[in-house]
């Protein structure tokens, strides 16, 4: 799989992309919103137990709200439902969702329902219930809703989707900051950090900042070895186990 290569290439591009601001909703006059992360690379090392990244930025004046949405690399997700068949709980119905973010977190300066209109929240996917989840199969509406919420619920249980809206704090009128948490089981790849400035329920300015999660050091080497030379990896694992087993056996016999 060349996903890792893409990630590395993306990491190289991060420096260039980091400064780029993407203006939405309003036409060109002075940039209203500027935001950046303290780090654009989360390195998964052997001691990795999850990490926090600080996002900070400024808006052009008081009386506006800020919402931050982080989405992880997208992949397909299969949701299965167990039903009782002859007393046994068996997987029966399933739905496959395409392009599902493997990570989703949202932070805001207040409750989302107060800050954004329903339309804005849906359009910019603010809040876990607004994540766009498309399935190729035509399912009854009620079924689809059940499968969608099951997907979100399972991801929340794994700690990969946020359950509560995080806190974006204003320091004075214009400067804001928030803490973004990434648990130990985050997927590697390219993450998107979207920052929205919202006034009267509508997005007036927005910016997207990339963030890369990648394995580095020993854990990256093991992973690469296993991926690129699976047979050699298997032989090494087997021979290593034989040697360790033998060595410990002999050591204990002498004791």
């Amino acid at each position: 799989m060349s996903l890792r290569r893409i990630v590395i290439a993306a990491a190289a591009a991060v420096g260039a992309l980091a400064g780029m601001a993407l203006l939405a909703a309003t036409t060109a006059h002075a940039q209203r919103l500027v935001a950046d992360l303290t780090s654009h690379l989360i390195a998964i090392t052997t001691g990795f137990t999850g990490t926090d990244v600080v996002l900070f930025g400024t808006v052009d004046g008081p009386s506006s709200d800020v919402v931050v949405v982080v989405t992880g690399p997208r992949t397909s997700v299969t949701v299965r439902r167990k039903d009782r068949v002859a007393g046994l709980w068996l997987n029966q119905e399933k739905a496959v969702f395409a392009q599902v973010p493997t990570y989703y977190a949202v932070a805001a300066t207040g409750p989302l329902e107060r800050i954004a209109s329903t339309f804005t929240a849906q359009r910019h996917q603010l809040g876990p219930e607004n994540i766009r989840l498309d399935t190729g199969r035509a399912l009854p509406a009620a079924e689809l809703t059940a499968f969608r919420s099951a997907l979100v619920r399972n991801q929340q249980r794994a700690g990969l989707y946020s359950t509560a809206t995080g806190q974006v704090a204003f320091l004075g009128d214009r400067l804001f900051r928030t803490n973004l948490h990434f648990p130990a089981n985050v997927h590697t790849g390219l993450y998107n950090v979207e920052v929205f400035q919202i006034r009267d329920g509508e997005v007036v300015s927005a910016q997207t900042t990339p963030l890369v999660v990648a394995k580095v050091g020993f854990s990256a080497e093991v992973y690469e070895f296993g991926r690129n030379q699976p047979l050699a990896y298997g032989i090494a694992a087997t021979v290593g186990a034989l040697l360790i087993g033998w060595a410990t056996g002999v050591a204990f016999r002498k004791m």
């Binding site: 001691g47 990795f48 997700v77 039903d83 990896y233 186990a241």
Partner: protein, 307 residues
Amino acid sequence: MLQIYLPIAEMSVDALAVLAMGGAVGFLSGMFGVGGGFLMTPLLIFIGVPPAVAVGTQANQLVAASVSGVLAHWQRGNVDVKLGLVMLAGGVFGTTLGVWLFGILQRLGHIDITISLSYVFFLGVIGFLMLIESGRAMLRRRRTTATRGKLHHHIWLHGLPLKMRFHRSKLYISALLPAAIGAIGGLLVAIMGIGGGFMLVPAMIYLLNMPTGLVAGTSLFQIIFTTAVATLLQAATNQTVDVVLALLLLVGGVIGAQFGTKASGYLRGEQARMLLAVLVVSVAGKLAWDLFARPADVFSILVGVPG
């Protein structure tokens, strides 16, 4: 708390907890001569390791645990190499058949339920039979001291052709019998992802009438090879062997196995069998409960493209 990141499982675990888990399962493995895979796989899945990685990794760990266990038995002359090799020949055939069956079941869907049901069936039946037998043996021992039965009873299985002499086990039986036991063991390796010791041990005791002392060492000897092949296949085809996790498990496992082997000296055969039977029946009961009880969430998700 000493957190360590597992590069293939892609998660962070408490290293000390995993070491302790490996040690506990290793102790039982050394004591009873079973690989302990039927305990380790559910345990790993319970702490959040993806099932495929759990199966692949613990095959790797079992290689080391069984080598270490065999050495202790070898020293006491408790390994029948000839019998082990005959079983292994059957085992290779069984594993090949198992991989082929696995493919068919996967295409038909319901591979998960097949695995769960075979766990419940094999563990349940074997555990229950062992429980009855060892209970009877314990009662018999208590009642009398001197009523010795026949050295071994002849059943139709012993009339099969291709008779072979196994000096170490003092057996003169058809080679087809240990080969068939090995084949069924190999089948279980492929379908259930375990060493199969819990099935081999009672089969060797009750079907082959092997001396109990030789059973643990000989089954471990055979398991070295089946788990080594399983590790190679899993790593090469599915990339589901996490060497960091395997290392933690096997460090705990080999130490536990040494103590287990020593502890087995203090137990009489039927006591060890009774304990193993209780353990096997409990695991079967737990798995059966999971199949029939309403799950906490009837929905489950699989992230990424399956397979």
